[in-house]
Amino acid sequence: MHHDKKVTEIHHDKKFSVVNPSKMCQPMGAVQALLGLKNSMPLIHGSQGCSTYMRFQLTRHFREPIEVASTSMNEKTVIYGGEYNLMKALKNITEKQSPSIIAVASSCLTETIGDDMAGIIRKFEDANPDKELPVIVPISTPSYTESHVEGYNRTIKALVENLTTLTAPNGKVNIITGFLSPADVGEVKEILNDLNLEGIILTDTSENLDAPLSESALNLYDGGTTVGQLEDTANSLGTIALSKHADSAGEFLEKKFGIKLISGPLPLGLENTDSFIRSACQLADLEIPENIEKDRGRLMDAMVDAHSYNYHRKMAIFGDPDFVSSMTRFTSEMGMIPTVVCTGAKSKRFTEDIETISKEKECSPVTLAGGDLYDMHEAIKKVGADILIGNSYGASIADEENIPLFRAGFPIFDRLGAQRISTLGYRGGIDFVDRLTNTILDFYYDEAGYEIVEEEDMIIEDQKFAEEEI
């Protein structure tokens, strides 16, 4: 394949190591998914460093309090196995926080020592017959396979598999979101609302991770997906997985209960949002309402207005696979030229998506699936980019290449408002087109509105880190 050749060229024969990764570990994906559950507590079964690191990353991104419990394994418990620590942690969390659900994600450590989490959980439940216990769900998330994207997928699957029960049809549609900003989840809910369609959002971070200053005590999340909703997933009209990489729960529901699954694409950009609206209407047999058509028209209007500024710009895009592929499509729709696209996860679906888009849009970006930011930087040096889209880890690359970084994805720790970055649907698309084009105007045009032709000294603000003493 044309692209594959480029990929190997770019890889520098760096086969054994990763330099500046563009992916995280499975338990992080689990926590990302669990933050959208009501009255829940994520517990990572492993050494405490993992959960502290994850909390740190999530907190500095959302600028919201994030709680993740740990079983705090140490040298001794590593030798004897984690039963004591897991039982103790379950007891402490149950009594102290009384959540309705505790989801226990394994870590590399406990996977390597081979702890039987399901067995230990059963033992805990058997030992406490008269107590009102939370629902406890084990999730196997070893990080030495795949990435946080798969961790997210496995978590949704474990929740659904463990909890769903067939009762009566509910006329709802299950939406597996994948890890989105709260604003994007909110937009998906708005679209469903516009369609007059009720959804079960797996999982709903829209309130939990963009909470108001209330001056009142914070307990566990009181927004988000409920245990009842998880149970109800088997009774829905169908499942739409916005992330193709997080559709295993949908596959499970399809196989076991015949609930139709539509997998992807992420409704980012005009065509992808069209697909999503089509899927939803199809599942529920609905007409497209007028206000949605109007929003679509506004997005087209925004794209047309922006075109003269951005049509020839080269884009480099990195992040989670669904985000990158749909962003590649969206920017191509805008007449921009994707030159480098990079995701940390090794994913066939991703490469296929990029191939389809490349054919349709007649572009041929250097495609890095399973790539790291170092490879991406090398590729940018070779093929060039006028703007980089991705998380804060791209800042030093943008700085070095003297191009702007448009921040989207996770983590964003050097700017505010990560929870409010909105890109999905027609309305999110409008927001994106405006902000991206304004970034281009800020960077490549002078105050009189003329394109700056010569190289100018651009000063990009130094990365500022919020960080922890760890």
């Binding site: 190591s17 990763v18 309090p65 079983t71 040298e75 103790k88 009594e95 005590a217």
Partner: protein, 486 residues
């Protein structure tokens, strides 16, 4: 009873021993239980030994490549997470090609299942080769064990030795897997031990002076080091080696040539100062540069060692003239405000007295994630009776504390900051700073300014929705609002 069990911690009675309410001045009697195994499920904020070794100790070194032998997570989370700026200057006058190389690059072995089953040694060796090829300019390569590699038993030292011979530059293994010890503190110690055993005494400085010091445990958070260095330079004291802020690999090798070791962060690095004293006879002193008083006092002590007292007085006088008047303004504004210090370790005893003596604040309590007995003794010693001294607190306890105690400001970390804000209380990042540096004279002024601006943020006065258009009903932060009305 000098110990307290928070209501939220009632189901975990063990937490009581970790929460001491000061009732006497005997340092031997009653301090919280600390540096012990973390209680599972207690919502600890503690980190792991790997984080202590790489994140705190070695992550500040500017000219080495860090290779984390781990599944993807540990590598990723250790990437760019510390605010340890570095320059490109090297002591021999040459330039290192990348600024902030230590922040910008992390390398990992991205272990896969087959590596876990069959061992990751081959991959580690290849990763070192590749690192050396991609970053030929680094002066050493450091390797880090993590939980997984600690468990599968990869012999990191053997790999380091072998690769060092092959590539012809130092390769050093740090065996601090996350499960070692009870907090990140274990990683600090392993970092010290390893650097001492493998590097100290292996190189010679380009030049020496009779006024050479090792500046130990100063990591240059937000530029602290650069500020303190100015003072030393003006006094005529030469920092021969810094452990490890903005330092280079070779610099650590000649620490045995200094005349004196000045220990700044006592928790994380007294180890190496002691070892250098024992083996090479270089004496050490423990110091503290937070606040004008401590900074002046400690500059005097260090200067006295070299007979440079007069110079020190000049530097102190010059700086005090510069910051004094502004500090007076902040003292007036901050007097009587109550602060809780939720720090990782030593800042909980560095700050309580200066905040009181120089800015008029009262310390309601202090806490630490990873201090040991000696640190807690100092914490206890430096707060008033009735103040809380807590080991390994969690956010639930913090919430209760905010409700039950009168607190105007929390000095904490990023994991606390946003929780505290939701509750309507100002908070300031004390681990990594807001607009630092915070050490030294100008740094203390930065801290005072940041505290003032956090407490007097105008938003605190308009939190309540006004039912009527009566302008002077707003009274949220109490005193802050009174202040406004006056």
């Amino acid at each position: 009873m000098p110990y307290k069990l928070f209501d939220v911690s009632k189901p975990i009675p063990e937490r009581k021993e970790h929460t001491y309410v000061k009732h006497c001045n005997d340092p031997e009697d009653c301090i919280p239980k600390c540096n012990s195994k973390t209680i599972p499920g207690s919502m600890t904020e503690r980190g792991c030994a790997f984080a202590g070794a790489k994140g705190v100790i070695t992550g500040a070194i500017k000219d080495v490549a860090h290779v984390v032998h781990s599944p993807i997570g540990c590598t990723m989370y250790g990437y760019g997470s510390k605010r340890y700026p570095t320059t490109t200057e090297l002591p021999d006058g040459s330039e290192f090609p990348v600024k902030d190389f230590n922040i910008k690059y992390i390398i990992g072995t991205d272990l896969q299942e087959s590596d876990v089953v069959f061992g990751g040694m081959k991959k580690l060796r290849q990763a070192v080769r590749e690192t050396n090829k991609e970053f030929p300019f680094v002066n050493a390569i450091y390797l880090y064990a993590t939980c997984t590699t600690g468990l599968i038993g990869d012999d990191m030292d053997a790999a380091a030795k072998e690769m060092e011979e092959e590539i012809g530059k130092p390769v050093i293994a740090f065996n601090a897997p996350g499960f070692a010890g009870s907090t990140q503190s274990k990683g600090h110690q392993i970092g010290n031990d390893t650097l001492f055993a493998k590097i100290v005494g292996t190189t010679e400085p380009p030049a020496t002076t009779p006024y050479d010091i090792n500046f130990i445990g100063e990591y240059n958070i937000d530029g602290d080091l650069w500020l303190l260095k100015e003072y030393f330079n003006e006094i005529g004291i030469n920092i021969l080696s810094t452990f490890t802020g903005d330092c280079c690999h070779n610099e650590l090798g000649w620490m045995h040539r200094a005349k004196l070791s000045v220990v700044r962060c006592q928790r994380s690095s007294t180890y190496i100062a002691k070892m250098i004293e024992e083996k090479y006879g270089v004496p050490y002193i423990k110091t503290d540069f937070f606040s004008t008083e401590y900074c002046a006092e400690n500059l005097r002590t260090v200067a006295k060692f070299f007979g440079l007292e007069d110079k020190a007085e000049e530097v102190i006088a010059k700086r005090m003239a510069k910051v004094g008047p502004e500090l007076d303004f902040y003292r007036e504004k901050l007097t009587g405000k109550k602060v809780f210090i939720f720090s990782g370790g030593p800042k909980s005893y560095h700050l309580s007295i200066p905040l009181h003596n120089e800015l008029g604040l009262e310390t309601t309590g202090v806490s630490s994630m990873f201090e040991h007995e000696d640190g807690f003794e100092k914490m206890k010693d430096r707060v008033k009776e009735g103040a809380l001294v807590i080991d390994d607190p969690n956010t639930l306890e913090l919430e209760e504390l905010i409700e039950d105690y009168d607190i105007d400001l929390i000095l904490g970390g990023v994991k606390e900051k946003y929780l505290v804000h939701k509750l309507g209380i100002p908070s300031l990042l004390i681990h990594s700073y807001e607009n630092g540096p915070y050490m030294g004279f100008e740094g203390f002024l930065n801290l005072a300014r940041d505290m003032y601006s956090a407490i007097y943020n105008p938003v605190w006065n308009i939190l309540e929705f006004q039912e009527t258009e009566d302008p002077d009903v707003a009274d949220v932060t109490g005193e802050a609002a009174e202040e406004v009305e006056k």
